[in-house]
């Protein structure tokens, strides 16, 4: 078996004083796409934020190995430079910083190399086209005045340009109309073309997954993964929802 890209063991996470994740186990190999599904409040976003290192999500137990490294010992920026990426559910608006200069700065941090303005601009234009975003977005302030759909596309844009080894998509499809879901999904497909690019897709909606290759599906309920399976689980959830799992998460 190939060496795991990320290996999560007994991960427990608390927000304020209450524990949300009660011991999550998950392994992913390089190039794999895994899906986490679960009802609202199950702890899906908590898992994503804890892996990325949001200070509001306190790890109370367990360990996470990312590549060769102890992920939980790394700062947020070290995790990003090491190849971890998270697409935010609510991307933050940063006035006065253009999308282009931001991604270029981030890429310089990720690669440790100075990016040539013109080369980068050309590269960025290609990705903008693929995501059906107007070129003018490059000049706009990061997420400022973007619609919900535009913000999500801008996240995918960042993912495609930063080329992380593991991208976590936290409800990237939520609140999007059908066309936007299709565009985002095409962007994700593009990302999957890289054989080493791994994806952890968090969703409670199967639409975004219809055109994607999926290796494994995990059902997260009440802070625990209660079921691991293949892509067939997606159809199952679509048909029956999470009701049959509700009892399983509790001790």
């Amino acid at each position: 078996m190939a060496r795991e890209l990320i290996s999560i063991r007994d991960l427990a996470v608390a927000v304020d004083e209450s524990e949300i994740l009660h011991g999550v186990n998950l392994d992913m190999g390089p190039g794999e796409t895994h899906v986490i599904m679960g009802p609202n409040g199950a702890g899906k976003s908590t898992l994503a934020n804890a892996l990325m290192g949001h200070p509001g999500y306190r790890v109370t137990g367990g360990r996470v190995t990312f590549g060769e490294s102890d992920l939980l010992a790394m700062s947020v920026s070290e995790r990003a430079r090491g190849g971890l990426f998270m697409s935010f559910q609510n991307p933050i608006e940063v006035p006065g910083v253009s999308l282009e200069s931001f991604i270029r700065t981030a890429l310089e941090q990720r690669t440790g190399e100075k990016q040539r303005v013109w080369t980068f601009r050309k590269e960025m234009k290609k990705v903008l086209d693929a995501l059906q975003m107007d070129e003018s977005y490059a000049e706009r302030d990061l997420n400022v005045g973007f619609s919900g759909g535009e913000k999500k596309k801008a996240e995918i844009l960042q993912m495609l340009l930063l080329k992380p080894s593991l991208a976590i998509l936290d409800e990237t499809d939520s609140g999007l109309d059908v066309d936007a879901v299709r565009t985002v999904s095409r962007g994700v497909e593009e990302f999957q073309k890289d054989k080493n690019a791994s994806l952890l897709i968090i969703t409670h909606n199967a639409a975004i997954l219809s055109s994607l290759h999926v290796d494994a599906v995990h059902i997260l309920v009440n802070g625990r993964i209660v079921r691991d399976g293949g892509p067939e689980l997606i159809a199952d959830v679509e048909k029956e929802g999470f009701a049959k799992y509700e009892g399983l998460g509790h001790e």
């Binding site: 949001h54 920026s77 006035p95 006065g96 910083v97 941090q109 990720r110």
Partner: protein, 470 residues
């Protein structure tokens, strides 16, 4: 009689051979006297009217109370005002070793060349900048533009023009420090742009203010005639070090019909400075004043550039950023007075405070009854970088006509942890993430500046942000 004479000699010695030892210190006469002002006037070879003007201002200075609002200026030793007005001669020979470390390292981090550093620190003569200044003068002179120092202009061809305009916008009766300025002003720039001329390159007082001893009570007088255009840049983002810590300059700008004047300032006085500066513009019909103002330095600042919109359709735009760090109390903003129909004033400011710094935005908009169909929009945003810093907003509006369109918006915020996390999740360090948020916040000002100043301002923010964490 003999005794009287001896006393005068003592004063003279105090002024010219001033040494910081105890024996001399108590001989300094407290208070500013007529003799001192007359002496300044003699040295400057003032015309008679200017000497009288100085003495009248001195009289007003003595009769005027200290301001009883705004940040405390108790640290200003008004009993020894003489030491501000006539700093000891040592000042001209400030030693490089005496320049505070933080200023030296700022020079380094801003990438200021060695020769400029000594000049900015007031310890050396100007080097390249003198030459640049000279070349700029030659170039604009071809268009009939006069760019010179105010003292020599007092004696030349433009003497009458100066007499007609000098401290007419900011009279010595305006406040105590305007009176002080009228009495002891020294140095500064005079710019005259004839009708229809458009000055393509920005003129910069930077070259002048670096001269040793200049820049403490300097007077800037700019006249832009009908249909002309000028961009004038005052100061420099490198810290300006002065031993004497009072700055009471005065700026008077006359903007003619359909003329445009852009007046940009990046002010970065050393952090012991009391910056009590007065700036005012009068704008005729169809004319426009654009203020761009960055305030970084000083211990205490009172700074409110004022636009007097006197002609139909006159416009004023004010864009400002203020950054108050530890030990700083910066009270900044602007005023606009609408005296004619169809006048507009726009105000857009950002203030940043950190490490216990206090930043206050203070503005006044006055719309007089005759100023029908006028518009004013004031927008101020503040960003506090930690819980011990402070930010206040004091916008005043005095609207005397119902036919005006007036808007005001104020926002005060902090850097959210979520924003820092978001940027860090893309690989930026915490320090870089915060600096990026702050420079983005100030971007509305930096984008108004010429590129090299914008770069310097961003560097400055980065420097100020160092150590802002934890």
């Amino acid at each position: 009689m003999n005794e009287e004479k001896t006393r005068i000699e003592d004063i003279n010695r105090a002024f010219y051979d001033f040494r910081f030892d105890d024996r001399d210190a108590y001989k300094v006469q407290s208070g500013l006297t007529q003799e001192i002002v007359e002496q300044i006037s003699r040295e400057k070879k003032d015309p008679d009217w200017m000497r009288e003007f100085r003495l009248r201002s001195l009289d007003i200075f003595h009769r005027t109370d200290m301001p009883d609002w705004g940040p405390s200026i108790e640290g200003l030793d008004m009993r020894n005002i003489v030491t501000y007005v006539r700093p000891n001669t040592e000042r001209m020979h400030t030693r490089w070793e005496d320049v505070p470390e933080d200023i030296k390292s700022t020079f380094e981090r801003l990438g200021i060349p060695q020769s400029e550093r000594t000049s900015l620190a007031g310890v050396g003569a100007q080097y390249d900048s003198e030459l640049v200044y000279h070349n700029v003068r030659e170039e604009v002179a071809a268009q009939g533009v006069i760019y010179t120092d105010l003292e020599s202009a007092l004696h030349g061809e433009y003497a009458d023009m100066i007499r007609e305009h000098f401290m007419k916008l900011v009279p010595p009766t305006d406040h105590k420090f305007a009176a002080l300025h009228g009495a002891v002003w020294s140095g500064g720039s005079f710019v005259y742009v004839p009708a229809g001329a458009s000055v393509e390159i920005p003129l910069q007082s930077y070259f002048r203010l670096n001269a040793a001893g200049a820049g403490q009570f300097e007077h800037t007088l700019i006249i832009v005639e009908e249909g002309a255009y000028l961009h004038f840049i005052e100061g420099c983002s490198a810290p300006k070090y002065n031993v004497a810590n009072l700055h009471a300059g005065c700026v008077e700008l006359y903007v003619g019909k359909n003329a445009t004047l852009r007046y940009s300032t990046i002010e970065n006085w050393s952090k012991n400075m009391y910056n009590l500066n007065t700036k005012r513009a009068k704008v005729e019909a169809g004319g426009k004043i654009e203020w761009v103002s960055g305030s970084f330095g000083s211990h205490v600042s009172y700074l409110y550039p004022m636009s007097v919109l006197n002609g139909d359709g006159a416009r004023s735009e004010f864009t400002g950023v203020t950054f108050a760090g530890a030990g700083q109390n910066l009270d900044t903003g602007c005023k606009a007075v609408h005296n004619a129909p169809n006048t507009t004033s726009y105000v857009n400011t950002r203030s940043i405070s950190k490490d216990g710094g206090v930043s206050t935005f203070r503005s006044a908009v006055v719309v007089n009854p005759q100023a029908v169909n006028s518009k004013s929009a004031v927008s101020c945003q503040s960003l506090m970088l930690d819980a011990k810093s402070r930010s206040d907003t004091i916008p005043a509006m005095d609207i005397r006509t119902s036919q005006a369109d007036i808007g005001h918006e104020a926002r005060i915020g902090r850097i959210s942890d979520d924003a820092v996390f978001y940027l860090m999740s893309r690989g930026l360090s915490e320090e870089d993430a915060r600096a990026l948020i702050v420079s983005g916040f100030a971007e509305n000002v930096s984008k108004e500046l010429p590129l090299e100043y914008a770069v310097e301002m961003n560097n400055l923010i980065r420097i100020e942000m160092k150590g802002a964490i934890g």
